[in-house]
């Protein structure tokens, strides 16, 4: 359930200004009620966009969370690439179908 819970938190903060405000005031408390591993919790709080990508979060959800943290578009893309270098290939979700970084082109 963990990727689901992780994705759900990001989905909900993306679309709900009240959760965004709560996160800004007290990040830990905004995570209450989500069943997360320590690694997931840390990736959210840091935020470690690369690790979130490696954990399997869909880009259609992740890009809005990056924007919430003021991360500019090109930087967002680079953080995902760096995440794979640091943490290895995507572990779960749709992008786990991806095999290697070298196959990919970027822009």
């Amino acid at each position: 359930m963990s990727l689901y819970q992780l994705s759900k938190f990001l989905y909900e903060i993306n679309r709900d200004p009240a959760i965004q405000a709560r996160f800004r005031a007290n990040p830990q408390s905004a995570l209450e009620g989500y069943d997360l591993t320590d690694e997931e919790r840390g990736a959210i709080l840091e935020p470690d966009i690369g690790l979130l990508y490696v954990l399997g979060v869909n880009g259609q959800i992740l890009m809005h969370y990056a924007a919430f943290h003021g991360i500019e578009w090109s930087d967002y893309l680079q953080r995902m690439r760096d995440g794979i270098k640091r943490h290895g290939p995507v572990r779960a979700g749709l992008y786990a179908m991806t095999t290697s970084l070298d196959e990919k082109v970027s822009s």
């Binding site: 679309r15 690439r81 970027s106």
Partner: protein, 272 residues
């Protein structure tokens, strides 16, 4: 009275949001094709515009992910994204709740669509509306096919959805214009954002334009993901258009515009 019009077009936030960063000549040709599509919709004199899209975790999530959904609200709002980022102003869109209800009841005879009395449009619907209904004059019926969260809607069911919309519309007194919007190949919001497989796109659009049902339905999700990225799953919306119209298609515009992160497509299909 009938399904009065069937068209397809691309959506992507870059089409409006990064308009100033594209080659002006390429951008303007694409915009002109969208303008031509708008005129064709207007000429069909629809009572409502039905937009079959592939939204991106704006309304639908894996807590209750419908294979298909159709809106039944009195009104809708959009965009759900930051209007400054998308460069589309917020608008309240009029729904057609009674017409929606009749359409949904009819579609449900063969396709098990969810219905939704509220819906916050993301760029998947707002970008087409921005070009096709700049004056916000149409009543809109939004629809969605799950192209995002596996298990995805099977391609042959997307076709069945188009057939069901056609049968429903033909039995209604109102005139419905159908716009189906998807990205063909693209790798949105991933490290490969901006990649476009033009050869794959042209092959798919050829299958679509010549109304080759078997060829359109022959892609596996693994093949599509490999060759066309996650965004390629959105072929489901174009397949639904073909299932509804059943005639030959005509591609008015196709060009890969990497800064828009999508092969920019505009087309229409004959209703037979």
């Amino acid at each position: 009275m009938s399904l009065a019009f069937v068209g397809i077009c691309s959506h992507a936030p870059g089409i409006t949001g990064r308009a100033d960063r594209a080659d002006p000549a390429h951008r303007d040709q694409f915009y002109a094709a969208l303008g031509r599509l708008r005129e064709a919709v207007d000429a069909a004199k629809p009572d409502a515009l039905m937009i079959v899209a592939a939204e991106h975790f704006a309304n639908f999530f894996m807590n209750n992910m419908p294979a298909f959904a159709i809106g039944m609200g009195e009104k809708y709002e959009g965009p759900i994204e930051d209007p400054d980022w998308l460069k589309i102003k917020p608008r309240v869109v009029q729904g057609a709740p009674d017409l929606s209800r009749r359409l949904i009841s009819s579609v449900m005879q063969s396709v098990d669509t969810a219905y939704a009395e509220e819906w916050r449009f993301d760029h998947g619907i707002m970008v087409p509306l921005h070009f096709l209904d700049p004056d916000n004059k149409y009543k809109v019926i939004p629809a969605n096919i799950n192209c995002q969260g596996p298990p995805l809607t099977p391609l042959h069911r997307a076709w069945a959805f188009g057939e069901a919309i056609r049968a429903a519309a033909d039995a209604l007194p109102e005139r419905i214009a159908l716009i189906c919007t998807g990205g063909i190949s693209h790798w949105p919001a991933t490290p490969d954002s901006g990649k476009i497989n033009e050869a794959w796109d042209r092959e798919f659009l050829d299958r679509w334009a010549r109304q080759d049902r078997a060829a359109m339905l022959s892609y596996t999700d693994a093949e599509t993901y490999r060759d066309a990225g996650q965004g390629g799953f959105e072929i489901r919306t174009f397949i639904a258009a073909a299932g509804a119209a059943r005639g030959k298609g005509e591609i008015w515009h196709y060009r890969a515009i990497p800064i828009f992160a999508v092969g920019c497509t505009v087309g229409v299909m004959e209703i037979v």
